[in-house]
């Protein structure tokens, strides 16, 4: 039984078929990695699933709810949260304010406009819990833009987590990280396994092979093959179009 099903997703940019009838499933608790050459359409696929760009065709179902017709923010409400390939946090706000904003989105009633937010302990508690979870409790008062890259990325993940997602979409979470930060991020993602199923896009093969329960390879907008790490590593075409020498590692 799949938690998440995407069926026949199609997206065209002018003459370019960026997403070509993609079918994809994610099982509960699974980390499903999506790899593929640059420009294969991985980010596009995430954008289609999260609703940031409208699909030309196809269907998206999460936990039995058809999300296809819903606006992006409604999809979040139904348990579909995401991070961005380029870290996207509120750079001028403190980490605390970033987290509060995310928690508030989940708490709803953002039209509440007379009560001072500082007085809302529910939100504060939520923010602190999140900060603990991703290891940002020490830097709550720093403006997010001044944090080191790895921390910003973790904050980005925390923002997505606030929605208590059933499925978390991570677009290159390891991007721009040194080995140390990468390890931290891998550990974090591994921990998140318990909270949500994850669709992971990543070019860092060490991380992918370490984390993924299943790997799908996207090439020219189409799923080339799908299987566990061993299967993918051994797939000759995947080696030639994507893995190169890393396939032999």
């Amino acid at each position: 039984m799949s938690l998440f099903v995407a069926e026949g997703l199609v997206k065209r940019f002018g003459g370019l078929l960026a997403t070509d009838h993609v079918d994809l499933t994610v099982a509960p608790g699974e980390i499903h990695a999506l790899i593929g050459p640059n420009g294969a359409g991985k980010s596009t696929l995430v954008n289609l699933i999260s609703g940031l760009i409208p699909a030309d065709a196809g269907r998206i179902v999460l936990d039995g709810v058809d999300l296809t017709a819903l606006a992006p923010h409604q999809r979040v409400r139904h348990g579909l949260a995401r991070c961005f390939q380029i870290t996207s946090v509120f750079r001028n706000d403190s980490v605390r304010d970033n987290l509060l904003l995310a928690v508030q989105a989940q708490a709803g009633s953002s039209f509440r406009c007379l009560r001072r937010r500082e007085a809302e302990t529910v939100l504060m508690d939520g923010a602190l819990t999140l900060a603990d979870k991703v290891g940002l409790a020490e830097v709550l008062d720093r403006p997010a833009g001044t944090l080191p890259h790895g921390m910003q990325k973790r904050l980005d993940v925390a923002l997505a987590l606030a929605a208590r997602p059933k499925l978390l979409l991570l677009d290159e979470p390891m991007a721009g990280m040194g080995p140390e930060d990468s390890l931290q991020m891998v550990a974090l993602i591994d921990r998140l396994r318990r909270d949500a199923a994850i669709l992971l896009i990543e070019h860092d093969m060490d991380a992918v092979f370490q984390l993924a329960d299943r790997i799908s390879v996207l090439v020219y907008g189409r799923v080339l093959t799908s299987g566990d790490a061993a299967h993918v590593k051994g797939h000759p075409e995947v080696q030639s179009v994507y893995l190169g020498t890393e396939g032999h590692a």
Partner: protein, 326 residues
């Protein structure tokens, strides 16, 4: 940058300043005759009314990042609502101004529903387009005087306890409304809604991905601002005892924008400060020279280069920033 020396040296004074200002404004009409400043009661009243409109613009622009260049359109809608209601026989100020508020909000809802799909300069221009349509509509509206305008010479009644014809009473009513609007928007700025709005200003895409109904949030702010601007328009109609399409011309929208930026975008005191300074200078310069525009131009350049965060930034404590230029 210029350090807010005054504020850091006297933090207590700064905190009490709003109340002091309010108290001074409240007793001003009583003191004015002894000081020979009766005329300035009317002047301050106008400043207060314009400040109401500017505060609403500051709210959507400074906090929401919506640079609307058609705000005078809502002021006009409010003013013409009062005209239409008076023409239809309404004599209660509360009804007329209430109507201005409602129709200002309605106009904003319609215009916002279309305009808020666009961003940046496109948003600036589409709001301008709608305001210009309203302007030309008013110019050709024969019933309400068209370009000649419409006089509202009988003061509106303010109920059994308030003498609507008394200029000081009207002053206090305006002051109360202005203080209320100001307090309301300041309050909202720190609420959940206010924070959400600022989040949208800073990173709209991320807000969508966090699950915020961004369009509805923006529209709500736009409608609130439109309604308050409509109210200001209604008050302005009563204050001027005259309404003409000129008040909706795009230059009026631009001036309002200029006053808000001058005062300090997204800063609590930005709007009233900007309005007070601009109108005072205009008033003073006009008396002394035919060439009264250029000093204002120089002032704008000075602000751009030496106080880019606006005047309010010079007064506020550093930590009290509520969000910077959008």
């Amino acid at each position: 940058m210029a350090q807010p020396a005054f504020a850091t040296r006297f933090p207590g004074a700064v905190r009490r300043l709003p109340w002091l200002v309010l108290a001074l404004l409240a007793v001003f009409p009583l003191l004015a005759p002894t000081l020979g400043l009766e005329y300035y009661v009317g002047f301050v009243r106008r400043v207060l009314i314009v400040a109401i409109a500017a505060t609403s613009l500051n709210f959507i622009l400074g906090y929401g990042g919506m640079a609307a260049l058609g705000h005078a359109g809502f002021i006009g809608v409010g003013a013409y609502t009062v005209v239409a209601l008076v023409e239809a026989g309404v004599s209660s100020a509360w009804l007329a101004w209430g109507g201005a508020l409602v129709f200002g909000g309605l106009a904003a809802a319609l215009i916002g529903a279309v305009s808020l799909r666009t961003r940046g300069v496109y948003f600036i221009m589409i709001t301008l387009a709608f305001a210009q349509m309203l302007y030309y509509l008013a110019v050709s509206l024969r019933t309400y005087g068209g370009d000649d305008g419409y006089g509202l010479y009988t003061p509106l009644a303010m109920g059994p306890w308030l003498d609507g014809a008394h200029p000081d009473v009207f002053y206090w009513v305006v002051l109360a409304i202005a203080a209320g609007v100001f307090a309301l928007f300041s309050r909202v700025a720190h609420s959940r809604y206010g924070h959400a709005l600022r989040g949208i200003r800073d990173n709209e895409t991320r807000m969508v991905a966090l699950g915020y109904p961004v369009f509805r949030l923006k529209l709500a702010g736009f409608v609130a601002a439109g309604a308050v601007a409509g109210l200001a328009g209604g008050l302005l109609a009563s204050h001027n005892t005259f309404v003409s399409p000129g008040m909706m011309h795009w230059t009026q929208s631009a001036l309002l924008l200029v006053m808000v930026i001058l005062g300090g975008l997204g800063r609590r005191w930005g709007a009233p400060l900007g309005v007070a300074l601009w109108l005072t200078l205009e008033e003073a310069l006009k008396m002394h020279t035919d060439y009264w525009h250029w000093p204002l131009g120089v002032l704008l350049l000075l602000v751009v280069f030496h106080a880019p965060q606006g005047l309010a930034a010079l007064l506020e404590r550093r930590g009290d920033r509520q969000g910077g230029a959008a």
